[in-house]
Point group: C2
Chain length 251, copies 2
């Protein structure tokens, strides 16, 4: 957790979040009002937070990783927009002006996203252009996901896959593999990182041809190399091209 996130948690009145994430910070928020709910209750969580704030309380919504990448920050704005609730950056809040109860002041505190934590454990797969795609077709039509996979594969992006598989979504990862194999060598290195920097962390580097048999779940991030990405000993990295340009000499 960043210092800013820790500071805010000590100041606010209420904390809203997915039960698993609340549990990770429970010692820090023992004196707060806590609203924790299970997965798929994202909309209710955000509506609860909005109601608390409109009622005069301050409230933090907690996510793991970065709240701005496939996480709750977007839903806050999506909900306020749909309900026509006025929002403003927290830095515009002025204590000397009487608080307007119909404005919600918002601060998004960035964190280390799974793509950064996972990349660090693999080596350096993201030091050149990359595309980030969620394989969850719960809120996005599969045709759109397929179109993005194809475009990213064709243009030789490193591809980061979020939400590769769940108990109910079992075929999407293999389909993604097939699409990418149309454009990329079967020996392309693929990094598999599950629960990066948390208990139960698992890191593996495999070949694209074996991606369909990799052990992945909703806590896994998958890194598919570009044509330039290398598997070197226990690491995976994508060169930026210095060695081509500057002729780094062999030792």
């Amino acid at each position: 957790m960043t210092q800013r996130a820790a500071d805010v948690l000590t100041e606010i009145d209420a904390v809203v979040g997915y039960t698993t994430y609340i549990d990770l910070i429970r010692p820090l928020v023992s004196d707060k009002q806590i609203l924790s709910t299970g997965m798929t209750k994202e909309v209710q969580r955000v509506e609860s937070a909005i109601n608390l704030v409109l009622g005069g309380q301050s409230c933090a919504i907690v996510s793991s990783g970065d709240p701005g990448i496939y996480a709750m920050a977007g839903l806050v704005f999506e909900t306020c927009n749909a309900k026509n609730i006025r929002v403003a950056p927290l830095q515009q809040f002025d204590e000397n002006i009487q608080r307007q109860s119909d404005i919600i002041y918002i601060e998004i505190i960035p964190g280390i996203p799974a793509l950064s934590a996972g990349a660090a454990l693999l080596g350096a797969p993201l030091t050149h252009d990359f595309a980030v795609i969620s394989l969850s077709d719960l809120l996005t039509p599969w045709e759109m996901i397929e179109k993005r996979l194809e475009a990213a594969a064709r243009a030789d992006f490193v591809i980061v896959l979020y939400n590769p598989k769940s108990k109910k979504r079992t075929w999407q990862l293999e389909k993604a593999q097939q699409i990418i194999l149309n454009y990329r060598n079967k020996h392309t290195p693929v990094g598999i990182v599950t629960r990066a920097m948390r208990a139960g962390q698992h890191v593996d580097i495999i070949s694209l041809e074996n991606l369909n048999t990799a052990e992945v779940n909703m806590q896994t991030t998958v890194f598919i190399g570009s044509s330039a990405s290398c598997h070197y000993l226990d690491f995976m990295f994508t060169p930026r091209g210095y060695s081509r340009k500057y002729a780094i000499k062999a030792g």
Copy 2:
């Protein structure tokens, strides 16, 4: 800085980095050997660090943001690979086994990348699929960059541009704008973030048609919305589609 980065800085013998970044942490490293060099000396920096470590010292290479995204981590592996130097994850280091002086043990410590910091200041532009592209053609042929811009625009990714402009590279951003305008509405929101969360921070949300006149430099990250991205009051966000699926009610 994360706690892990601060801990490592207190433990190591030497620090290598771009002068600007070393200056930001100078109070923390006053008792260390410091090798700081200017921009474009990346290869020398990494070679200095490697030589220090092969000589028996421990060494940290510092970056701003996340060292794994368009930063130094990739060059470490690229250089070791080119020089045929053995590397291993730091967690494999065993103090009880006599240190093999020809192996370099490496830990990459992730940070908050500019794409996360910038997104947080804009609202939530990255809560759906996105592509990250550097406009620097110093190490990458411009034809490849153009191909990626076109693919990302066509497949309706949110597009994050790193290195949009420098004193010497002045035409690339306008060219990128033209390519993206072939596929995306001229009113598409574009977030411009310079020096996110550092002194001199500047945040703006404009329309794609005005991107060519935006004030940007090497410290700017540009966020080009997808067709779904919205500009709502002082924020920019990309909905994940909850309001379509769950019919979030107007207030």
